[in-house]
């Protein structure tokens, strides 16, 4: 790894690198237990129970939100990190569904998990890459020596207008990562690159309840251009090829997009299958790529290379090269696996979904 980092110093113009090696010392997933099948949505809106773009999506319960779910994921991450929350130097929550318009999520999460008051805390709202953006910031904080540990979370209860195409996929869930010293990590973060532009393919204006999207525009110039630009640049500057990786994870707004972008980049279905969760949980927005990563960390062997690339509309893509380390197999059993959360499944009907997600106007 040291070789790789020193190569970077000489060649890279754009890649982010840290002064000290950093890595993931703890990680935790959280997926709420309720599932709404696509056939149930089409039953209501088209009169026929035809399958949607994903089989079913995860739905947060009536007493859950980004804060409660972030706390669940953060506790799992702390368990695997084997550190006390007092050692955290930052608590950052990335989401586009923070429960409050005005009042931070990060401080509630920090206090709930037992972090001290001597921290940085902040909420990130940066489309579906809010979580990976927080991860990059955590790399910076730890990698510069400002702090030893930083917690970065990507979590959403994604919103979709009833009847809109997005309703089939917009789901709830996410993951938390504790970034710490590389030598103490379950997986090192070897290099990172972000490709960031103003690409307005998806937005929600202030005081609107549901987002709008640019239909086909969300494909080629948005999702595909940004993910391929980020992943290709990172691999090119590292002199790496798709077959250098055991696993690849891409932002997953549905099932087809990540499959297609993987093919475009030269990855095989085998490399992406373990991190492709959208068919069974939907699109967890800021949590989507990160949950793919927790699912892969749950099974990866020491030495396995992982490429993860997020995408956020109007935000861009963050790509990371991660390598699983020796400590991973032993410590990952300290918390529930991503698969365990997926298997913990209670199917609900559309009416229950409407009640859970507050879609009935009560006043």
């Amino acid at each position: 790894m040291d070789d790789l980092m020193s190569d970077l110093t000489e060649t890279s113009q754009h890649i982010n690198r840290t002064s000290h090696p950093v890595g993931i010392v703890g990680y935790g997933a959280y997926i709420p237990r309720y599932r709404l099948p696509g056939t149930e949505i089409s039953r209501i809106w088209s009169g026929e129970s035809t399958p949607g773009p994903v089989r079913e999506k995860a739905v947060a319960g009536v007493d859950e939100d980004v804060i409660t779910m972030s706390i669940e994921a953060a506790r799992n991450a702390l368990a695997r990190a084997r550190i006390h929350a007092e050692h955290l130097r930052a608590v950052w929550v990335g989401s586009e569904s923070h429960p409050y318009a005005v009042k931070p999520s990060g401080t509630i999460v920090a206090e709930a998990i037992g972090a001290s008051a001597h921290i940085q805390a902040g909420d990130w709202e940066f489309a579906c890459k809010a979580g990976t953006e927080a991860l990059v910031a955590a790399m910076g904080l730890v990698g510069s020596g400002m702090g030893e540990y930083a917690l970065a979370i990507g979590m959403d209860t994604a919103q979709a207008k009833p009847g809109d195409a997005l309703e089939y996929t917009a789901s709830s869930g996410g993951a938390a990562f504790i970034i710490g010293p590389g030598e103490d990590s379950l997986a090192t973060i070897d290099a990172q690159y972000s490709y960031v532009t103003d690409m307005p393919d998806f937005w929600r204006r202030a005081n609107q309840k549901y987002p709008e999207h640019g239909q086909r525009f969300t494909g080629e110039p948005a999702y595909f251009h940004h993910i391929t630009s980020a992943a290709e640049m990172l691999m090119e500057e590292l002199g790496m090829k798709p077959d250098d990786f055991k696993y690849a994870i891409f932002h997953q707004p549905n099932e087809k997009f990540p499959q297609r972008v993987a093919r475009q980049l030269g990855f095989t279905p085998e490399q992406i299958k373990d991190g492709l969760l959208s068919p069974v949980i939907g699109n967890t927005y800021a949590g989507a790529a990160l949950l793919g990563l927790t699912a892969v960390l749950d099974i990866a062997s020491p030495g396995d290379r992982i490429l993860i690339t997020s995408y956020g509309s109007g935000a861009g893509s963050d790509a990371f090269v991660i390598t699983a380390q020796e400590a991973l197999p032993e410590r990952r059993d300290a918390a529930l696996s991503t698969r365990a959360y997926i298997d913990r499944r209670t199917e609900i009907d559309y009416a229950t979904y409407v009640r859970f997600r507050g879609k009935i106007a009560m006043r």
Binding site: G214, Q215, R216, F217, P221
Partner: protein, 389 residues
Amino acid sequence: MNTNHSDVVIAGIGQTPVGEHWGKSLRNLGVEAILGAYRDSGGIKPQIMYIGNMLAVSASRQANLGALLTEDVGWVGMEGVTVEAADASGGATLRAAYLAILSGDVDVALAVGVEKWTDVIGPEADSYLSQMLDADYEATEGLSPHSLAGLLFHRYLYEYDVEQSAFAGFPEVAHANGATNPKAMFQRALRPGTYEKTVDPSGELGLYDIAPYADGAAAVLLAREDVLPKDWPHPHVRIIGSSLVTDTLSIHDRPAPLVWDAVRLSVERACRNAGVMPGDVDFFEVHDATSLHAALSLEAAGFASQGQGWMLAKEAVIGLGGQIPVATFGGLKARGHPLGATGVYQAVEAALQLRGDAGANQVSGARLGLIQSLGGMGATAVTHVLSVT
């Protein structure tokens, strides 16, 4: 001086790819096509520019395209004006340029069609498109061009007792031809059976019956033959017949909604003008905005009897080697339908056929071509006859 109607030559052609041009503006597209035609002519500058466009005012919030495009192409001060006839704007623009030369007032006129509207989506796009219908009696009732064509299609299947699958040949031929047109929006042939999969038992227009929303620009430079240099490199493709006819705007005001009189009359008049019979032409660029349009146009133009246009929907009849090739570069269905630019694309494609420059899309021995541009449900019909010497 007097200009004979057969002295008008297509001196230059230009076209942009058709598609969803998210990275290009109305100006970018227009200038690209105009400069293409200018360069193709060997640098003949027009004295007047007619611009065919339907939706710039709604979709781009831009009027006054005459001033816009003459300036952007670097010809500030040139006479320039928009011609609008819904999705027949392209054909009407070609006719305006042709008439300008016949008038004797100018020697060289440019017809450019440009449309840039795919960044408008959903109901907004449908409502803009519906402006081609009668706003008081059709559009306000919720009718769109597609839904109205759907109703007529339903009627057609019922009236003439036809199975919808009989229409498969229209998109299949269009897509087969589009496959070898580098400017086409869809450059892929349909697999056998693909059309049938989208057929609704109740007889609705399906996915493959409707030409796609698209952006694009095409330009033709028309010149009186005697201004062309002696060594001008291309065969002389002439416009020898031209006609624009209107019908009632609303379908419900016509005695027989499945008989498109303006379409028939404009073919008859353009052919009489040219001194040819429709049966003499080597290809017909038909306005296949939907499969219904294709069938009704072929009937109105006299290639089939009433109620039998669908019988021509076969590769052997309308394919490049058939009796009456249509949509030779993919037509509206596969090349794409950039509304006010479509009629000019047809002229560019006809010129390529008659010059013998159509490559894989060449209709062998093409000497005489018929092109037709329709506005709305055949409410405006513009037809041109082109020949080569």
